[in-house]
């Protein structure tokens, strides 16, 4: 009997075309898998079996009529930062514990139009602020490769669910690495598209100039397939791009002749984790064997990316999160005597420590007397970081880099030291500053059997170059990514 939960999106679609199995059977297999393993992995905040079966039946009606699109009948998990009408959307925060959105995010509407099966909502760091998913107000998600380790964050539920085969693909969001770093730690493919490629309407905002929604999938082809559905301009997000959306799968079979891979010296520093370095070097060799050329490049302002980010992102967050005040939706505190106290009680009880820290950092950086020294300064350094990429892409088509400095760390290892936690995003943050696309692909396993991700970046709207490079790398790697029995 077919093990449905091991099949990729492409294989499921092929099966639906040939009428080999039904979407309801596949969905039931996933629901059973969730029941069996998610009590250990804890990727899901909410599972919606009745909705999933209903959607699967709808998908089967379409399949019956041979109306099969990219994601028809494909079971998906959704990061709980995306609004789903009628399904609780908490952002893993107590302040939204009871929030049932009255509307769907644009990407969710697009999934429904495809007759995708939504299985439930996935855990994350509260308001997407974190690198380990330990900042969830509700549960701690485990890395399916080693249950004592973090799955990465903030889209840790999204990566752990794909890795533990409790959904066929998931959606996440990436503000400073929140798709790529968890994808790397869990051994799945994760793409942060170009800023503006995917509508952010219905994505609960963290840092609006950096946030972007993207897919986490079992392989590169699936990643291209999901992009075909979620990309595109949307009147409800004025920052969404009017650029043409290509068929992302058409790039995959293209060879790598004529592709130049930039190797940034700042990303290969002495003392870096041996397994990570070996993995990335191996990936670069394989790209060369597949026809690509390499060139040394420099991104000289890389070391300033983290301090820049920890001004810009909190500034935007302090503004975005001012809407959570206990008036229009979400939880309101019970004990108060006046309006100001109601706001303070609601917010102080509703937000977790890291969220409060970032609101405070942002408020401080934007406050009178500090604006120039912090927010303006950081925005100027952002220009320098962006210019580094502009220069680099004159010499190369893609940039190869690590995703994270080490494989997944232990739960609790960094949770009491914010700066150590922030430093785990050192290789992913610059990409968001510049708004360029980047992908993480599993390239190796560490000595103790943990996945290591290979990062591929490209210039704005060049996802095609990333996808064909990743596809060639994946094909030639032949990496066996079987997670231990759960």
């Amino acid at each position: 009997m077919t093990n449905f939960t091991e099949l990729t999106i492409s294989q499921l679609t092929e099966g639906y075309r040939k009428k080999e199995f039904k979407a309801v059977e596949v969905t039931e297999a996933y629901l059973k898998r969730i029941e069996e393993v998610d009590s250990k992995v804890k990727a899901y905040l909410e599972v919606c079996p009745e909705i999933a079966i209903f959607l699967a039946k709808e998908a089967d009606k379409s399949i019956e009529k041979n109306e099969i699109s990219y994601l028809t009948g494909i079971p998906a998990g959704i990061k709980d930062v995306l609004c789903t009408k009628g399904i609780k959307t908490t952002c893993a925060s107590k302040i939204l514990e009871n929030f049932i959105p009255p509307y769907d995010a644009t990407v969710i509407e697009k999934l429904y139009k495809e007759k995708t099966v939504i299985l439930g909502k996935l855990n994350m760091d509260e308001f997407a602020m974190g690198s380990s998913t330990e900042n969830s107000a509700f549960i701690t998600t485990k890395n399916p490769w080693d249950l004592e380790r973090i799955p990465g964050g903030s889209s840790g539920g999204s990566s752990a669910s794909v890795a533990s085969r409790t959904c066929a693909f998931s959606l996440g969001s990436d503000t400073g690495g929140s798709i790529r770093q968890p994808a790397s730690h869990c051994g799945v493919v994760g793409l942060k598209p170009t800023y503006g490629r995917v509508s952010r309407y219905g994505l609960i905002a963290f840092a609006s100039s950096l946030d972007q929604i993207g897919p986490l999938t079992k392989d590169v082809r699936d990643c291209a397939v999901v992009m075909n559905v979620i990309a595109g301009q949307d009147n409800r997000d004025s920052t969404s791009s009017t650029n043409d959306v290509p068929d992302f799968t058409k790039f995959l079979e293209e060879g790598l002749d004529g592709i130049t891979v930039g190797i940034p010296e700042e990303y290969f520093v002495s003392g870096m984790d041996r397994d990570v370095e070996d993995g990335i070097r191996k990936g670069i060799e394989i790209l060369k064997e597949a026809g690509a050329k390499t060139v040394d490049i420099s991104l000289p302002h890389s070391k300033y990316a983290i301090p820049t980010y920890y001004i810009i992102a909190p500034c935007e967050a302090s503004s975005n999160l001012s809407r959570f005040d206990g008036v229009k939706y979400g939880v309101r505190a019970e004990d108060y005597h006046n309006l100001l106290q109601m706001y303070k009680e609601t917010r102080s009880k509703g937000f977790g420590e890291e969220v409060k820290r970032r609101i405070m950092l942002g408020t401080y950086s934007l406050s009178a007397g500090y604006y120039d020294a912090y927010y303006k300064k950081a925005s100027q350094v952002r220009t320098l970081i962006k210019n580094d990429f502009n220069e680099a892409f004159k010499k190369c088509d893609i940039i190869a880099a690590p995703v994270a400095p080490t494989p997944a760390f232990k739960i609790g290892e960094k949770s009491n030291d914010p700066i150590q936690m922030y430093l785990s995003d050192v290789f992913t943050i610059s990409v968001n500053m510049a708004g360029i696309p980047a992908l993480s692909l599993p390239v190796a396993l560490s000595g103790n059997g943990l996945p290591i991700g290979f990062q591929i970046m490209a210039n704005h709207f060049q996802e095609g170059k990333i996808l064909k490079s990743a596809y060639n790398l994946e094909k030639n790697l032949q990496l066996s990514l079987k997670i231990p029995n759960l």
Partner: protein, 94 residues
């Protein structure tokens, strides 16, 4: 120290947050560590650099102003903590 406990309390007020006596000490220490960490940006001379507020250059995205029917009011007030006659209720401010 970059910032004192009293200043943290002031920023907390602006942020519409409060910290109790137990939390404020540890919060202030960690907050200071981060501010010191951020200081390294001062190594860079940015006097001649224009700031980037958005990664992609777009501004003034216009569309036709077309009225559309919305029946969302019921759905919206339904999820508010306290509502009366389709209005959000808050504590009296005057």
């Amino acid at each position: 120290m970059k910032i004192s406990k009293a200043e943290v309390e002031k920023v907390a007020n602006l942020s519409r947050l409060y910290f109790d006596e137990k939390e404020i000490e540890s919060f202030t220490n960690k907050f200071n560590d981060i501010l010191l960490f951020i200081e390294q940006l001062n190594e860079l001379d940015t006097a001649e650099v224009s700031p980037t507020f958005h990664a992609i250059d777009t501004c003034n995205v216009f569309r036709e102003d077309i009225a559309i029917q919305s029946d969302a009011i019921q759905d919206i007030v339904k999820i508010a903590p306290e509502v009366e006659n389709q209005a959000f209720v808050v504590p009296k401010i005057i």
